[in-house]
């Protein structure tokens, strides 16, 4: 038996939106998994043991002139965040720490996640590295990455010919 199967589904790191087919002959295994889920959710385990690692969520958009990268980093300050660039990618790393005051006390809910993180985002086109700007406000990091002039020109229009 794989140990992962014992971990209740609701605590697994990422929820994958897989459609579940409603099978009238649902397998016995599924039934057992559900039993485990119910068992663990009823169990009064110290909630802080069930925390997952912190991974910031990212949004990445573009227009003709620039890319804009946004990352949700609640509870961090600009000093905790490290943004670096290399040839073809940008890396956001840092650590989300628990506030010291919290450390003593009984937890009723522990849903927030902590820990160090590192996300590497590949950059699809040349960036004008001298004009990259990063700002941080309300727990949201925004990085503006202007495209280089060459990259702006690179958009090619391909004519579609009709077959005869």
């Amino acid at each position: 038996m794989i140990i992962r199967d014992l971990i209740p589904k609701k605590f697994s790191k990422k929820e994958v939106p897989v459609r579940r087919v409603d099978d009238p002959f649902r397998s016995f295994i599924d039934e057992v998994h559900d039993m485990f889920d119910r068992f663990f959710s009823d169990l009064a385990v110290a909630p802080s043991l069930l925390r997952t690692e912190f991974t910031p969520r990212i949004d990445f958009v573009e227009n003709d002139k620039e890319y804009v990268l946004k990352a949700e980093l609640p509870g961090l300050s600009e000093k905790d965040i490290d943004v670096s660039m290399d040839e073809d990618s940008i890396t956001i790393s840092g650590e989300k720490r628990e506030e010291k005051e919290e450390q003593r006390g009984d937890y009723y809910y522990a849903e927030r996640s902590f820990g160090s993180f590192r996300r590497v985002i590949p950059l699809p086109a040349d960036i004008d590295k001298d004009n990259v700007k990063a700002t941080f406000k309300n727990g949201l990091l925004t990085v503006h990455l202007p495209k280089s002039r060459e990259a702006q020109k690179e958009v090619k229009k391909i004519t579609v010919e009709t077959e005869k």
Binding site: D59, E62, N63, G75, G105, R112
Partner: protein, 118 residues
């Protein structure tokens, strides 16, 4: 009174920690991107509600490459009992994290009883 829900924004349940201390509770909510003036904490009868709007300010006419989140409305409710001192709740917001310090009602506070030596 029923609240009018803005349908254009997705409602997201923020992650919350609740910690009990000797004389108060601390409730901490991660609300990344929430505008300070959009955050509302209300107690109506025995329901404590936290709402906020995340203003991600995504410029128009941009194409999404990755989208792991959307502009959203944070909403979370809790039932509170008479165990708290609802007039003295303190809230603060910094770097996308809302902290509420909720004092316990007087009768629940830890009292030290002095022992008299005879």
């Amino acid at each position: 009174m029923a609240e009018v829900v803005k349908h254009e924004l997705k409602t997201v349940t923020p992650a919350i920690d609740i910690i009990e201390k000797e004389n108060h509770y601390i409730m901490i909510a991660d609300l990344p991107g929430a505008r300070e003036d959009s955050i509302d904490v209300t107690i109506n009868r025995d329901i404590l509600t936290i709402t906020a709007e995340a203003d991600f300010d995504i410029p128009e006419k941009m194409t999404e490459i990755y989208a792991e989140y959307k502009p959203c409305r944070y909403h979370r409710t809790f039932r509170v009992l008479d165990e708290i001192d609802r007039d003295n709740i303190k809230a603060s917001y910094q770097n996308g994290v809302l902290s509420l310090v909720i004092p316990k009602a007087d009768h629940l506070k830890v009292k030290k009883i002095a022992i008299e030596a005879k």
